[in-house]
C-alpha cells in the first residue's frame, strides 16, 4: 500500500463513523417527512407576514425609506433572514441535555468518537435539509426581488460570515449544553438564549433601526454575525470594510468562545455522571 492510499484509508476510517452519526440523524429527521417539510414552509409564511406588516408601515409613514432602508430592501431582508436562520442551530444543547438525562452520554463515551463532534454531526442533518429546502429557494426569491447583482466578493463575504455565525452558534450551544452536566435540565436557558440571540442578531428587525448607541454596542458583540451582517452584506446595507471588520469581530469571538469551551469542557467532562452514575 502506498503512503497516499494508506493516508486515504486512515482518513476514511476516521470520517466514516461520524458520517454514520450524520446518517442516523438524517433518518430521524425524516422519520416524519410531511410534518417536517410543512413545518419548514412556515418560514415562507413568516417572511410573507413581515412583508405585509412593513408594507403597511411604509404606506402609513408615507415614505420610501426608513433610516436608509427602502421597502423593497426590507422585503428582501426578511426573505434573507429566514434563509439565513439555517445558522441558528438549536440541536447541540438539546442533544447534550438528552444524552445526560437518559444516560446516552455513557454509551457515547464507549464509542471511538469525539463526543463534541458526534453531537455536532447528529444535528447537522436538520441544517442540511433546511439549507436545501428553505435557504436556497429563499435566496433565489431574494435575488429575484432585489435585482441585486452579487459580485464574487459579496458572495465570498456572505458565505464566510454565515460560516462564522454558524460556528459561533455551535460554540454557544455547546457551552449551554455543558450546563446540563450541572443542571440536568436546560430547556429554559436554551430558549432564553435563542430568543436573545434572535433579537440581538437582527432576527426580528434590521439592527440599524435600533437606537444608534445600541447598534454600535451590538456590533461589538458576536450576535450581528448570525443574521444581520450576512443579510446587510448581501443587500449592500453595509460597506465592504464594515463587513470585513464585522468578520474580524466574529473571528475574535470564535477564539474567545473556543478557548472558554475547551477549558470548560476539560473541567466538565471529569464531572460527567449520566443518570445512574
Amino acid at each position: 500500500m502506498t503512503g497516499k492510499s494508506a493516508g486515504n484509508v486512515k482518513l476514511t476510517s476516521l470520517v466514516e463513523p461520524y458520517l454514520a452519526v450524520f446518517s442516523i440523524g438524517l433518518k430521524n429527521t425524516l422519520a416524519y417527512k410531511t410534518d417536517f417539510v410543512l413545518s419548514l414552509f412556515s418560514s415562507f409564511f413568516q417572511a410573507g407576514l413581515m412583508i405585509f406588516i412593513w408594507t403597511a408601515i411604509y404606506d402609513f409613514t408615507n415614505t420610501t425609506s426608513i433610516l436608509g432602508i427602502t421597502l423593497s430592501t426590507m422585503y428582501v431582508y426578511f426573505f434573507l433572514l429566514y434563509a439565513f436562520r439555517v445558522v441558528i442551530n438549536f440541536s447541540v444543547p438539546e442533544v447534550m441535555q438528552e444524552d445526560i438525562q437518559n444516560g446516552s452520554l455513557a454509551v457515547a463515551y464507549t464509542r471511538p468518537l469525539k463526543y463534541p463532534i458526534q453531537v455536532f454531526m447528529s444535528g447537522l442533518p436538520d441544517d442540511a435539509l433546511y439549507a436545501g429546502i428553505i435557504t436556497i429557494p429563499l435566496i433565489i426569491a431574494a435575488l429575484l426581488l432585489s435585482h441585486v447583482l452579487l459580485t464574487p466578493l459579496t458572495i465570498m463575504l456572505v458565505i464566510s460570515e454565515l460560516l462564522i455565525g454558524y460556528t459561533i452558534v455551535i460554540l454557544i450551544g455547546f457551552m449551554i449544553g455543558m450546563l446540563a452536566v450541572k443542571l440536568t435540565n436546560i430547556y429554559g436557558i436554551m430558549n432564553s438564549t435563542w430568543s436573545v440571540i434572535l433579537l440581538l442578531g437582527g432576527g426580528v428587525l434590521p439592527l440599524t433601526l435600533f437606537p444608534n448607541a445600541v447598534y454600535q454596542i451590538l456590533m461589538l458583540t458576536p450576535f450581528p454575525m448570525l443574521l444581520y451582517v450576512p443579510a446587510a452584506t448581501f443587500l449592500g446595507m453595509i460597506s465592504t470594510s464594515v463587513a470585513i471588520r464585522s468578520m474580524f469581530t466574529g473571528l475574535f469571538w470564535i477564539a474567545v468562545l473556543l478557548l472558554v469551551t475547551i477549558i470548560a469542557w476539560r473541567s466538565v467532562r471529569k464531572k460527567i455522571t449520566s443518570a445512574g452514575g
Binding site: D35, A56, D59, G188, L209
Partner: protein, 266 residues
Amino acid sequence: MNMKANNLFYFMRLLLWSNFYQVRSFFTYRLQSLIWFIYSGFTSLYALITITIIYNVSKGIAGWDYFQILALSSTITIFMNLIYTLVNPWSLVQEMRHGNLDTWLMRPYGIVTILLSTFGSFTSLAGVISGVAIFIYALYHVSFSVMSLFAFLLLFSLGSVAMVLFIVMLSILSYHLFRSANFTSKLLGVLSSAGSYPLVIYGPILAMVFTVALPIGIASYYPTETLFGRINPSLYLAIIFLEVVVTMVSYKAINVMMRHYTSGGG
C-alpha cells in the same frame, strides 16, 4: 365507567391536581424553573421592544397608535401563553405517540377535560401575567369606555375558548395525519405573528383566512377593535356567533377524532 362530564368543575379539579404534581416535579430543578419563568415573561418584552422600535422610526400602522398596537399585541401574548398553559401541542402529540395519554384516558373524566388539564406547561403563566401587565400599561394610555371593556372581555373569553379548542383539534389532527406536531407548533408561531397586528393589513383574503379558517382574529384583533369602539353591534354579534361555531365544531371534531385514536403500540 362513570365518565365525568367536560364541565368546568371537573376541569378545574383535574387541572389543579395535575398542575400540583407538575409544579412539584418542575421545581426539582430550581434554577432551571427560575430561568423558565424569566423566559416566559421575556416573550412579552420581545413584542414590546419590536413595537417600540417600529413606532420610534415610523408612524406605525394606519389607525393604530403605539398603545393601541401594544394592547393588541399583548392580547395575543396573553392568549398564546394561555394556550401553552393549558395544552402544549408538541407535548400532547409526544404523549400520544408514546402511549402516555392512555393512562389518563383510564380516568373518569371527559376527554376535553383531560386534554386541557394535563398537557400544559404552567410556566407559560408567567407569559400570561407579563402580557396582562403590558395590556394594563397600554390601556392606561388609551381611552375606552367601561362598556367596551366588558364587551372586549366577553369577546376575548369566548374567542380564547374557541381558539384553544381549535388548536387542540389541530394537534390531534396532526397526530392522525403525521404522528408529529412540528407543523402545529410552527403554525402557532405564524398565528402569533399574524395576530399581533391588525388583520386589515393582510388584505381581504388573508384577513378572511385569519377570521374563519385559522381564526386567530377572534381571540385578538376583533376583541381589541371592540375595546376601541370600532366594531358595530351586528359585526359584534356575528363574531360571537363565529366563536360559538368554532367552539362547537372543534369540540365535536376532538371527540370524533379521539374515538379513532390509537396510541403508539395500538
